[in-house]
Symmetry: C2
Subunit: 196 residues, 2 copies
DNA sequence: AAAATATTTGAGCGATTGTTCAAATATAGC
DNA sequence: GCTATATTTGAACAATCGCTCAAATATTTT
């Protein structure tokens, strides 16, 4: 004897994610959010508790989406290394035109937030770590497949890839004409080099 | 027959820079700014025109400070390459404890702003480019000194360094225990390698 | 010391912030 | 179709936002 919510939480979070991703935490107002997800304040607060609550769930959604990309590319590619390369290309090059921001939402969040929003900052850091773990898994697969030297440390390489992606995406936003394809190729040359 | 401003513009801009650097553009209110620089609204608006005006001058100040660091390290170091290494270490490692933010203010700004603040965004991009130019100059010096292969492209390497610094500083903020010293060493190994 | 000209002050503007909550509305079980 | 129990709505809250401007204050020239 009741009524169930009529909004699709998944879709709502996806829309909220895109807005937060584009504008960042502080520049996104609840008013902006209301318009983007087509919900009124009361419903939003009943469903998510606060602006932070929506943001937190958006970060979660974004992280899942990011990790899902690795899985999707792994399923589509001919090898683990190819999947990693394709994911990096997708994330660095395609996001320039296809995504709400050319930058990673988790990186943007870590860059933007301070101790004043400690919880959200820590949450974003943790999600970034879980993305790094997904990269490490793919690298280990590539090592088993003989595409990357097994003598190298997978976590070490995953960290390297993480730094490169973050650096490249920032650089891509700051320089519209950056030769990203070439920069990505060079990055993978140092990963697949036989000597470390 | 008049009166001259009693505030020290240089000092005021320095304080404003530190505040904007730490909190970012959107999270810094004029009230915060008033407190930080100890000026009342009327004086601030007479001197800088707007919140954007203060921010713009802060970006300018920050960029000059950044380029000045290269000069200072160049003067102190035994060689151009050593100066570059020391600057990278200073910027990536020391800034974790000594600076308002562990991240580059220009990078934070490029990451945060959107087309809604197009002018400031373009300004930050341009300043980031001028920092890259300063790196390229140092690399050319290192090439003339025989520390880096003259066959390599200096602008190309400067771009590489810029990507690495941005990536490392983001990574340093996201991971408190990152082995930065080691990561920086590895980066320079690929710069000074005899084959490219 | 008076006059002229600048800067500094801070109350307060309209707009917007995140959030609340009583009223209206929809749905499920009886 | 009635009752019970949700959800949804949107007006409105106090606080804060970026900013303005008349009045007060300081400095310099006459």
């Amino acid at each position: 004897m009741s009524k169930s919510p009529k909004f699709d939480r998944e879709q709502v979070v996806a829309k909220a994610t895109n807005l937060y991703w584009e504008r960042g935490y502080h520049a996104t107002s609840m008013r902006n959010l209301q318009d983007a997800i087509d919900m009124r304040p009361g419903s939003i607060y009943a469903a998510f508790g606060s602006k932070d609550g929506v943001f937190r769930e958006s970060l979660e959604h974004y992280a899942e989406q990011s990790i899902g990309r690795f899985r999707a590319q792994r399923a589509a590619a001919s090898s683990p290394l190819q999947a990693l390369k394709n994911t990096v290309r997708q994330v660095v090059i395609q996001s320039k035109t296809d995504a709400p921001s050319s930058m990673c939402m988790l990186v943007k969040t870590v860059a933007e937030l301070t101790d004043n929003e400690a919880e959200l900052l820590e949450f974003a850091k943790a999600k970034l770590k879980s993305v790094e773990d997904a990269i490490a898994e793919l690298i280990k697969e590539a090592q088993q497949a003989g595409e990357i030297s097994a003598e190298k440390n997978a976590e070490h390489l995953a960290r390297f890839v993480q730094v490169q992606i973050a650096g490249l995406r920032i650089y891509a936003k700051a320089n519209d004409d950056a030769p990203l394809e070439q920069m990505i190729s060079e990055m993978f040359e140092s990963i697949t080099a036989t000597v470390q």
